[in-house]
């Protein structure tokens, strides 16, 4: 259980984190979402007492971080993978951490085995690839077998296999009753792992909601119709008072109607349908709309892609290379 109360951080005149208050509950994966520069990492550093808050407090199981005697046994964190001495072997990097918290050295072998680095335990960590570095960082987080785990952008730069591994690891850890707090700037990633969502933008809390609620509230649902009798279908829909939006490839999208209604309608008018499906707009889109006003670093282009509704059904999903990043009707 992590509790934040009015957490604020100013760097000069710039407010990085602005009166954040939320709780991270045990037994679930809580996603911490925000665009780049929203204050996610600063917030996580303050949770670990690396940065001092300008005001407000963070409590870990009711205690301030600095008062924890063996913090690794309460909370394990992966902030950035390269926060290790490259000249030291993976084993020794973990051993010195274990010793400072009175964790038996046998545990070092255990976590190295857990993350699959046993074979390179004696190798210097500076020769590690990004994925191996990330695994070493996760090993250090798991060292004290803590009840709270924090991961800052754990999938950044990982290959699909590594992403898959981390995703399953987080779910497994949460199912053991641990508190998992994971930050990301990819909604699609969160949709797959998180049970609860905390969204921030420019340091302010934008949403603190369950994943299911977020999906329910933020994804536009509509029905997709495709027919060889395109003109006829459009007329029929118009007569019956439905607003159909035409999109590329002869597809009609209808808001505010169920598939049952539309299917029966088509049958009554004997229109052949090639497709009748219920769709939901991507969560990525919902997330971008939510944070549109608070994105720190905009790319300035003639057409700002975030400002326009993407071509639904085609747009965002195809480039993510990850399953389930687009339509989440399966949820």
């Amino acid at each position: 259980m992590i509790e934040l109360e009015g957490l604020t951080k100013r760097f000069g005149s710039k407010v990085a984190v602005d009166h954040l208050s939320f709780q991270v509950r045990p037994g679930i994966v809580t996603g911490f979402l925000g665009p780049n520069g929203a204050g996610k990492s600063t917030t996580m550093r303050m949770m670990l007492d690396l940065d001092n808050p300008t005001s407000g407090t963070v409590r870990i199981d009711g205690k301030h971080y600095r008062d924890l005697q063996e913090p690794l046994k309460y909370i394990g964190a992966l902030l950035d993978a390269k926060a290790m001495h490259g000249g030291r072997s993976a084993y020794n990097n973990l051993l010195c951490l274990a010793q400072s918290n009175r964790i038996p050295s046998s545990r070092v072998d255990e976590v190295l085995d857990m993350v699959g680095l046993s074979a390179v335990a004696k190798k210097k960590s500076k020769g590690f690839s990004l994925g191996m570095g990330q695994r070493l960082g996760i090993a250090s987080a798991l060292l004290g077998d803590p009840e709270i785990l924090m991961f800052d952008e754990p999938v950044n730069g990982l290959d699909p296999e590594g992403i898959h591994w981390i995703r399953n690891l987080m779910k497994a850890l949460a199912s053991e009753g641990r508190t998992i707090f994971v930050s990301s700037h990819l909604m699609s990633e969160m949709a797959l792992t998180a049970d609860h969502l905390i969204v921030i933008g420019q340091g302010k809390l934008l949403a603190d909601t369950s994943m299911a609620d977020f999906i329910h509230e933020n994804s536009r649902s509509y029905t997709r119709l495709r027919s060889p009798q395109y003109e006829r279908l459009r007329d029929v829909l118009h007569q019956e008072g439905f607003t159909a939006v035409e999109t590329a490839g002869g597809v009609l999208e209808i808001d505010g109607a169920t598939t049952e209604e539309l299917g029966e309608l088509a049958a009554r008018h004997q229109v052949v349908l090639h497709e009748l499906s219920s769709q939901r707009a991507s969560l990525e889109e919902a997330f971008m709309q939510m944070t549109a006003g608070s994105v720190e670093y905009h790319a300035h282009s003639e057409r700002d892609p975030a400002a326009e509704p993407p071509a639904v059904g085609a747009g965002w999903g195809e480039n993510w290379n990850k399953p389930g990043s687009n339509n989440t009707e399966g949820k």
């Binding site: 550093r45 690396l50 001495h85 508190t179």
Partner: protein, 283 residues
């Protein structure tokens, strides 16, 4: 995910749904400064910089010390009543640069690699981390410097058997005293490293601290500056170090064990400042 126990074994009843209900099978025993020291010892012995800097220091002290003694013996130079111990000074002065480097790197490498964030996450007490580092680093350099200085002193006395016989006090000063002084200089470097958080910068500052007073004093010819010049010379680190060997550039200034007190003062200020800054600063 392989864990020593099954999840069912480890799960406790949720208490009012508020507290975490994961309990680790690893027992919690309070960690102490001793644990932090063990951790810092692992860090120090597992990087190559330690072996290199201390190895170079030992090599410098041995070769410079023995070679000067051999040269003097070959030339039959009269040491004008001084014991042969004084010849150890040159090697130690050169070796001190290695200790400075290692002292700075002990904390500086944590900042340059980002390890400091991991270290302070594992041990949030800044005082404990710095104290553990200081204790481990001081002990190691003290032992190595003292042992090497003793070996060099014995060799020099044997080579120059004609020189004056040193007293017990002189022996102590030029071995244990030098060990304390050099290890103290290393601690000062560690403190400066923690304050500036940048290895190259801190090493430059420390080399300046060692050399600059003498260099500045060289250019102070004006009568008005005479007292400043004298102060700079007397309290320069090389002069205080040579005071431990019983020879100084001036006839006043710190002598005997006094240089150690001066160094102790400097170290206290530097480490105190480092702790205050570490407590206040963001990592």
């Amino acid at each position: 995910m392989t864990s020593p126990a099954t999840p069912q074994d480890r799960r406790q009843e949720p208490e009012a749904g508020l507290l975490s209900f994961y309990a680790s099978p690893i027992p919690i025993r309070p960690a102490t400064l001793g644990d932090a020291i063990a951790s810092e010892w692992t860090k120090l012995r597992s990087v190559r910089a330690t072996v290199w800097t201390l190895g170079v220091m030992v090599a410098l002290m041995l070769t410079v010390g023995v070679c000067t003694a051999l040269l003097l013996a070959a030339n039959d130079t009269d040491l004008v009543g001084e014991p042969a111990l004084v010849l150890g000074f040159f090697g130690v002065l050169l070796g001190s640069l290695c200790v400075i480097t290692l002292g700075v790197l002990t904390i500086g490498s944590e900042y340059s690699t980002g390890m400091i964030r991991t270290t302070l996450t594992a041990c949030p007490s800044r005082v404990r981390v710095l104290a553990a580092k200081a204790i481990v680093f001081f002990s190691l350099t003290f032992v190595i410097t003292t042992v090497t200085a003793t070996v060099v002193a014995v060799l020099q006395t044997l080579i120059l058997s004609g020189a004056a016989t040193p007293s017990g006090g002189e022996w102590a000063l030029s071995t244990v005293g030098v060990g304390f002084y050099i290890a103290g200089l290393g601690l000062l470097s560690l403190g400066i490293g923690a304050i500036v958080r940048h290895s190259a910068g801190a090493i430059t500052i420390m080399i300046g601290v060692v050399l600059l007073p003498l260099v500045l004093a060289l250019f102070m010819f004006a009568d008005d500056l005479r007292s400043v010049q004298r102060f700079l010379i007397e309290y320069s680190i090389p002069n205080q170090l040579s005071a431990l060997y019983g020879t100084t550039m001036t006839n006043s200034g710190p002598s005997g064990w006094e240089p150690l007190l001066v160094m102790l003062g400097l170290v206290t200020v530097a480490l105190g400042g480092a702790v205050a800054l570490l407590n206040r600063r963001d990592v």
